[in-house]
């Protein structure tokens, strides 16, 4: 039986998985231990931890209700990480996948959970060397969390397009804007939460899976969005880690506006019919970005993702005003109108240089040193 901890509604937190690369050929390198050792020499109070393979590191913010404060914290974490990585001559980079690393070269981090995952999933564990952003949104109770999870599933293609930054995989242009999700799809417990109606039903499902010995905790579900009862949040896990340090805050602001809309409207339209086209729409966004065509299985119509995002943003304006995040609302609108995709930027660098090492060098410089587009108040 899972207890859902109460948290203040609409509070936010983000986690970012980052690449650790060498500065010689910009391939992934075994750097998380060295980074953590050096970071650990002085107390810093930030949430910085290892991930499944040693070419990854995860950072997480504290709980925020103000996205500007979140950006401020992210910049402080970045400054600390950059100072440390520079001493070790390591590069840090955003992006959903490393363009040319070979999965078999990766080393599982020596932590019991990761070793167990590696034993259970074999090569999938090393192939899971992909980098995502997770957004946590505070919910007052489990029932609300279940509703919000279903509500946000309709907007999954939006988050994919806004964060898509993994066009290359194992040295090849995939033609996808986000190829990272293909690595996640391979896991048997990936996809979306089943169509449960409230927290009790969710608990029944979880208990059933636990009794069958399939899962031991919520961590075993690799869903795109999942309730996180111990934090009292809903966690969106679909996003690639964006290239810039400020984009994650825009994505969090978008999630906050959507969540407010869900709560204020008292949305409760939970139905399996909404999931009929879930995987197809998800694929469309991964493959085509803003050019995706979404299929509404209930209304039986097709719309362009770009139009759908602009319509959604128009509807969210009152919520942005209520939350005091009009600047982020405008920035998102600009990004969509300019059809700005991180994956396009990466392809452009590759077209100019012909070198994937150069692509990673530039994306590393971007994450480590680029000033945020929206200044901190």
């Amino acid at each position: 039986m899972l207890e859902f901890s109460t948290s203040q509604p609409l509070t936010l937190g983000v986690e970012l998985e980052l690449m650790i690369v060498n500065r010689r050929d910009y391939n992934l390198t075994r750097g998380s231990d060295d980074l953590l050792h050096l970071l650990g020499r002085r107390p810093h109070g930030y949430d910085i931890k290892p991930e499944i393979t040693q070419g990854m590191i995860e950072i997480g913010t504290a709980v925020h209700s103000d996205v500007n404060a979140m950006l401020e914290e992210l910049l402080a974490i970045r400054a600390l990480l950059v100072r440390t990585a520079e001493k070790l001559n390591l590069g840090l980079a955003g992006g959903g996948s490393h363009p040319f690393q070979h999965w078999s070269d990766q080393r599982i981090y020596p932590k019991e959970r990761y070793q167990l995952v590696s034993e259970l999933y074999g090569y999938l564990a090393k192939q899971f060397t992909v980098y995502g952003q997770h957004i946590h949104i505070g919910c007052p109770d489990g029932d609300t969390a279940v509703r919000l999870t279903h509500y946000l599933s309709r907007y999954i293609p939006h988050f994919i397009a806004l964060s898509a930054s993994s066009p290359f995989h194992q040295g090849v242009d995939t033609l996808f804007q986000s190829s990272r999700l293909t690595s996640v799809n391979a896991f048997p417990l990936s996809g979306s939460m089943p169509c449960v109606g409230n927290w009790d039903e969710f608990n029944d499902y979880f208990t059933g899976m636990a009794d069958l010995g399939i899962v031991a905790s919520m961590k075993d579900f690799y869903w795109d969005i999942r309730p996180k009862p111990e934090y009292g949040t809903v966690e969106i896990r679909i996003c690639d880690t964006p290239l810039g340090v400020d984009t994650p805050v825009l994505l969090a602001a978008y999630a906050q506006m959507l969540a407010r809309q869900c709560f204020e409207d008292g949305w409760d339209d939970i139905s399996p019919a909404h999931y009929l086209t879930y995987s197809y729409n998800r694929f469309q966004a991964c493959r085509f970005g803003y050019d995706a065509v979404l299929v509404d299985g209930v209304k039986k119509r097709q719309t362009s993702l770009l139009e759908d995002m602009l319509d959604t943003l128009n509807g969210l304006l009152p919520h942005a005003q209520a939350l005091g995040i009009e600047a982020q609302h405008n920035a998102l609108r600009e990004r969509i109108l300019q059809r700005r995709l991180d994956s396009h930027w990466l392809r452009q660098v590759y077209d100019d240089s012909g070198s994937l090492s150069e692509v990673v060098r530039r994306q590393s410089e971007f994450w480590m040193y680029e000033a945020p587009a929206l200044s901190v108040n």
């Binding site: 010689r24 050929d25 390198t29 001559n89 070198s355 150069e358």
Partner: protein
């Protein structure tokens, strides 16, 4: 009556190279599978067994004739090592630069003191101590490749090796100048010649670096194969030119690699590293190095030779242990890094020949001693360095 072909069989250089490779690989595999030693130790032992000091399957002439491949291997390794010296990093991470340099200077002074105390005159002692500063880039690169080591100890070991090779070659040139001066040779011998060696080699490396960057930019990143072949060609050219111009090939190639890493648009030069595609050159290199080992002088010179190796290792391990914290390493990892610097540079034999030529008296003792030291470091070096990297938990095995 004419001899039939098989009645007057003599190995030609290609057949000699084939023997080096085939027996080297077999020896390497036996070392890895049976004795759990590094493959390099197996290659060197194979060379020792089939070489002039062993079964005499290969004589000195054949080893010399396979020299082309061996010089190319050394060139590839030194180029790669030069590329490991990241000046931007060294500017930021002054602790690494200072530690590598100080460790080299301390090693030089310690070895000089030991050698003069052991009865060597100042001139050969300074030449030997200068050679003792450098770690073998070929051994390190091959060990890191074989054990797939990654991490701070490995990175700093590599950067430190690049720097100690540069320092060693510079100090060696100065020591050479001192040797000429003490022998009463003219100004040309003790100033112009060393100056030519040093500045000429650096200049050749820089010009080659600039040329390589320009050509690689022109080729474009989409032409990786063409870039790789071009770099092989340029490395061979620099090795050949520095021999023709009587420069220090090792210094020229190191500077060449360093320039391509650090000059503007250096990223255009092909990666991944060339040395990872050149393992057959390295196998031949180690077998030939093993064949050139002469254990005979060791029989009489083992006490000072062991002293030399011990002092060299202790000073390096001690310096890095002291400086570990400022390098962001636990002290134990610092000591392991210093220990990992044990293998002596592959260009030591070339330097030995140059040194012996300038020493009118005592050339035989100088060469005999260096050969004894090389015998120890070539056999022990790879084992100790792999042990250090393993203890630092940076290898995969």
């Amino acid at each position: 009556m004419h001899d039939l072909p098989w009645q007057s069989l003599a190995l030609n250089p290609l057949a000699a190279f084939g023997i080096l490779l085939a027996l080297g690989v077999l020896g390497g595999q036996i070392a890895v599978r049976v004795a759990k030693l590094p493959g390099i130790t197996g290659y060197i032992l194979s060379g020792l067994i089939i070489g002039p000091s062993g079964l005499k399957l290969l004589d000195q002439q054949l080893i010399d004739e396979a020299g082309l491949f061996i010089q190319l291997a050394l060139g590839l390794a030194l180029f790669d090592m030069g590329r490991r010296v990241d000046l931007r990093w060294l500017r930021r991470e002054k602790a690494l630069f200072a530690t590598a340099l100080l460790s080299g200077v301390i090693t030089f002074l310690g070895l000089l003191a030991l050698l003069t105390f052991s009865g060597f005159p100042m001139a050969p002692a300074s030449l030997l101590a200068a050679i003792g500063i450098a770690t073998s880039p070929v051994v390190l690169l091959e060990l890191v490749r074989e054990s797939r080591a990654e991490g701070q100890v490995t990175e700093r070991l590599m950067a430190s090796t690049g720097l100690n090779n540069l320092l060693s070659l510079t100090v060696f040139t100065l020591a050479l100048s001192f040797t000429h001066f003490s022998a009463g040779h003219g100004v040309e011998a003790f100033i112009l010649m060393p100056g030519w060696l040093l500045l000429g080699s650096v200049l050749l490396g820089l010009v080659a670096g600039l040329l390589a960057i320009r050509l690689n930019v022109w080729l474009g990143g989409g032409k990786r194969e063409a870039q790789t072949v071009l770099m092989f060609g340029l490395i061979a050219l620099v090795v050949g030119l520095s021999a023709m111009l009587k420069l220090l090939p090792a210094l020229a190639i190191l500077v060449f690699g360093l320039a391509t890493r650090n000059l503007e648009r250096g990223y255009a030069v092909a990666e991944p590293s060339l040395s990872s595609r050149s393992s057959f050159f390295f196998v031949a290199f180690f077998v030939a190095a093993g064949a050139q080992l002469m254990p005979l002088p060791l029989a009489s010179l083992w006490p000072p030779a062991i002293g030399f190796v011990l002092v060299r290792s202790l000073l390096a391990a001690g310096s890095w242990w002291v400086a570990a914290r400022s390098n962001g390493l636990p002290p134990r990892h610092g000591a392991l890094l210093g220990l990992g610097l044990l293998p002596m540079s592959g260009s030591a034999v070339i330097l030995m020949t140059m040194g012996a030529l300038t020493l009118s008296a005592g050339a035989a003792e100088f060469s005999g001693f260096l050969l004894s030291v090389l015998c120890l470091t070539e056999l022990l070096g790879p084992i100790v360095t792999r042990f250090a990297l393993r203890c630092a938990q940076e290898t995969r095995d």
